[in-house]
Symmetry: C2
Subunit: 339 residues, 2 copies
Amino acid sequence: MVSMKDIAKKCGVSVATVSKALNGYSDIGKEKREEIKRCAEEMGYFPNSSARALKTNRTWNLGILITDNLHSGLTHSYFAAILDAIKVTAERRGYDITFTSMSPVGGRKMSYYEHCRYRGLDGVVIANIDFTSPDIIELVKSPLPIVTIDYVFDGRTAIVSNNQKGMRELTEYVFSMGHRQIAYIHGDDNTVTKERLASFYRTAEAYGVTVPDKWVLPSRYRDVGMTERRTRELLSQDSLPTCIFFPDDFSAVGGMNAIRSAGLRIPEDISVCGYDGIPIAFAMYPRLTTLRQDTATVGKIAAEKLISLIENPKIALIEKISVDGELVKGDTVRRMQPS
Amino acid sequence: MVSMKDIAKKCGVSVATVSKALNGYSDIGKEKREEIKRCAEEMGYFPNSSARALKTNRTWNLGILITDNLHSGLTHSYFAAILDAIKVTAERRGYDITFTSMSPVGGRKMSYYEHCRYRGLDGVVIANIDFTSPDIIELVKSPLPIVTIDYVFDGRTAIVSNNQKGMRELTEYVFSMGHRQIAYIHGDDNTVTKERLASFYRTAEAYGVTVPDKWVLPSRYRDVGMTERRTRELLSQDSLPTCIFFPDDFSAVGGMNAIRSAGLRIPEDISVCGYDGIPIAFAMYPRLTTLRQDTATVGKIAAEKLISLIENPKIALIEKISVDGELVKGDTVRRMQPS
DNA sequence: ACAGGTCTTGAAAACGTTTTCGTAACTATA
DNA sequence: TATAGTTACGAAAACGTTTTCAAGACCTGT
């Protein structure tokens, strides 16, 4: 491995001079700088990030905390898409991405925060995780630059998909299509769900519609089986809604199966909506009516805000940023005839 | 940040002693070792990975190269699942995962290999990438421990999903259901596709069936639109197959749309198969007949082999490991009546 | 010719570890 | 008691950088 020392020797200068020439300091003569740069290139020199980090306390490395209890959030297409955007943006700014776990190193378990210190990460993005766990709290309370996704901590920058507006748009669309009997099979009990539910109720109220409790059933995100069962329960009631909202696009597939095996057609007999806008929603037939969350923007902003928190700790603002989604009308909500 | 120096001062010993006590060297007295360990714990000491890496040339960090030309492979559920398994396995063994890109650092573009050197990665997993690009070739020819996924390089360990066997099983199943007219709309022209195609032809031949060229059409993996168009073309021919193979489960959705909008039912009028076994395949109705690739095992073995390559460079074998998938019968292939 | 200024450069310390080698103090053996 | 062997510890160098500070070289204007 060729180091600055080798370049210094070859060029007949000191290591300090090489360092400064390569890092663009102004106090190195033009010809000398050129020569050193050429030398470095020729010899295939590359800096050693460990040595640099040791000296500067900057690793140009961002941590990602995206593991949920079951699995890593990678198989969750919403978070995978966000991670993708974070990665692209970070790389463009010269940062790498490292996963942050609680794995044991050298025999001793490390907390998330300890792990981040160990690796010297410049900052961390936290997403799709149990935000109430003590380990996360410790990390959030630490002095590390941090950005959270879809969850807000006091005094920390957060990027959230605008569930309130999204749900409102989706609900308004359904109302505008003439529906008045709407059921909502919703996801796990967390802040995202609370926001969507609240927005759902508020919008219905604005239309003067009261949603009966029996039409609001709990399921879980991405749980096809449970959503299918809940849908079956719903369909066994004596009065049926004309439209059903599902927790997300994926679980909606389960719900739609339940509907079809009950002999009902979508959307002729019953309309449905998903949430997320995952690729399959655009591909399926009929195209699913849903609200596409703007994962690309969420990820991009998360990375940008984190980096500005790192690079301008004085100036950077602590913000809560809402990213709007986009209504995808699709074909699973039919227009009701005015009765 | 508390360092070994602080512990040494507090315990009245030298830094060397602290280092050895913490790393379990045998030449430190039992009581002293205990005291030092206790001290370290109390003071909240954690090692500095940069300093350690600088000295030992080991980072306990694995690189992942999974970016394809369009986007990062993260949104590709097959690779996301593999990455997930790699991550879990690596973490269990004390390694972290860092993405390896070609981003510019310090103004200069780096090749993949340069990037790996820069970060001091102990090894790299390469997947879902253009294996013919010069940058990849450079990396593969480098002295770095490397494992490739679904592509074989000479003298390098590779983990491949057993496409040959998988396609054979799928084809045999379809034949066993009485089908003799089978079409194959296949994916991009790469080694995976070649293997599947070859296996498809070979199996058909074993059943004494010749597949007409007009029934073997090129599409692209995960391309719903193109697969839908190709399917339409296929359906416009005057003689129709009784079963269609699609590039993968995702694009199969497009194909199925084409079939249905031609007024044909699945599987009553025409049978279909996907490939991959992504979650949606199990959720859709009717359940898709497909071949589930064992992503968990592929990822796990990839990580394990890479780590043994790193830790036992002398002993570790260069291998080509085939991971079998599993036939998922589903409900999209109907049993043909013997005519 | 000299003071003061501007450009260039290098010596050296520091970052936090690991590891080699030396040595002092014991312990066992003859 | 002298010798050899063992055990426990520390001094110091090294890894590859960055950065401060001093200083030499070269001007400029008086």
